[in-house]
Symmetry: C2
Subunit: 284 residues, 2 copies
């Protein structure tokens, strides 16, 4: 996609042929205006993409922005559970209705489309990517300042489709201190660089655990190397986050909106600065 597509609400449904003509929007797209689309990615599974996506959404919402989350992890969706959003998504003549969290964050996830939250989604790539596309084009997102995309692990079908078809403004990378994780995250960084969106920066999650008794900082996955890795990949380092049992507990209870994290507030500030810096710019 060209940079011009970023401001075109037809992106995702257009073709090269249709580009010079009137863009064909779905009814859901006509009923939506999304200012910025940000992908939260890692390449590696289980480093906390969904947690970071959720904390980022909550942080932006607290700053007064209208926020939505598109859960693109179709076979392993976490977002509804983290926000305590249950029940099936509604449908109107115009499109699929995004569900709302307690505090008003809009959410779309495959787990809002199935009967029981632990029913498996046994689908191959073409159907999975079609669902991700429809979550963008057929969901009535309404007016959003930010739509965050919680990406699945890997550099396969879903990331390829997201970068080829959706108007992504930028990417947030999540890593953990393991050299193994950093290797896989570098794969994801190289993948993003095949496309156009800038990488706003890297967050190092699970950097340490604080012992609740003696307050020792335990580096369970080895010495944090987020800053070093960010430099190595020439992307801004946004900060490190500990593993916080309180976050796991609130996420399991569907109450992530009650979570307070001074460390994440700092990260969100740095990210906001990067988003401002990158407006209209393409670092790829």
């Amino acid at each position: 996609m060209s940079e011009a597509c970023n401001s075109c609400s037809a992106a995702g449904t257009c073709t090269t042929e249709s580009c010079s003509t009137e863009p064909k929007l779905t009814d859901a797209q006509k009923a939506s205006h999304i200012d910025k689309v940000i992908a939260v990615m890692s390449g590696k599974g289980g480093v906390g993409k969904s947690s970071v996506t959720s904390m980022l959404a909550v942080s932006l919402m607290r700053q007064g922005y209208k926020v939505g989350i598109l859960d693109a992890d179709i076979t392993g969706p976490s977002i509804p559970k983290i926000f305590g959003v249950t029940g099936r998504a509604g449908v109107s003549k115009t499109g699929i209705l995004a569900s709302k969290s307690r505090d008003g964050i809009k959410v779309m996830s495959l787990n809002l489309m199935i009967e029981t939250e632990d029913d498996p989604v046994i689908l191959r790539g073409p159907l999975i990517t079609q669902i991700v596309n429809q979550f963008y084009t057929e969901v009535i997102w309404g007016d959003l300042d930010y739509l965050l995309i919680d990406m699945p692990p890997g550099t396969g079908d879903v990331p390829i489709t997201v970068f080829q078809s959706l108007p992504i403004n930028g990417v947030v990378m999540v890593t953990s201190p393991q050299a193994l994780a950093n290797m896989v995250v570098r794969k994801a960084i190289k993948m993003v660089r095949n496309y156009e969106p800038p990488i706003y920066g890297m967050i190092e999650n699970m950097a340490y655990v604080e012992c609740p008794d003696c307050k020792k900082r335990i580096e369970i996955f080895g010495r944090p190397k987020g800053e070093e890795e960010s430099k190595r990949n020439s992307i801004p380092f946004l900060g490190e986050l500990p593993i916080d049992p309180a976050l796991a507990e609130l996420s399991d209870a569907g109450k992530v909106e009650d979570y307070q994290s001074p460390a994440f507030d700092q990260i969100a500030k740095r990210l906001a600065e990067q988003i401002r810096t990158n407006i209209g710019k393409n670092l790829a």
Copy 2:
């Protein structure tokens, strides 16, 4: 696949039409004899499938078995790094040569096919599953008692292909204490039950961290619930594992074969018992 396929070395390359005729084996399959194929799965990313696969391989090797690992996580391969296996896989007229770890575990992974370990593999499902199939049919595994398959996260293309095309004898499920992880793991369990292999049992990884100073047991992802989850899903509970910084360090250094874990030795014993119990049996 029918149960009879489990003992047929043509499984993975056969068709319904060819089944009643002489099985067509590749040269690599003719040069291999694999006794048992075990998939290590989770559904959720980052709960330690690759660590568990590696520890299981080392444990079986120490008991005198011949072991191989097929790294089916094509876009996020960890196995070569964990075992310190570098360089490109060799090729002969007969097929692709499995690489060998220091202590003799055979390994095949996409990271043994690319120039640089952090080059991304940006491929859609059909190509990814073709690679997984070829890792079974075109690799000269030689004589193996156990071939372990390190599965990628999710219930998409690769798990579908593995269960449809490879002669899997049984599955080991890996989970972590987060309710979120358990939800996704239940999806994977339900998926496996659509196919034939029995689930040998569940391992709860990342159950706690021990403070190196005050020895407090810190349950960073909440109260372990592996035993409860195993009962809920009617599968044997194999045991819990802590997060051990020593394992992360050895894995990052490619020296997992130096790792000693009494907790895992117990798990391996229980698993061996389950494998014995399930010989010729189909719990699905």
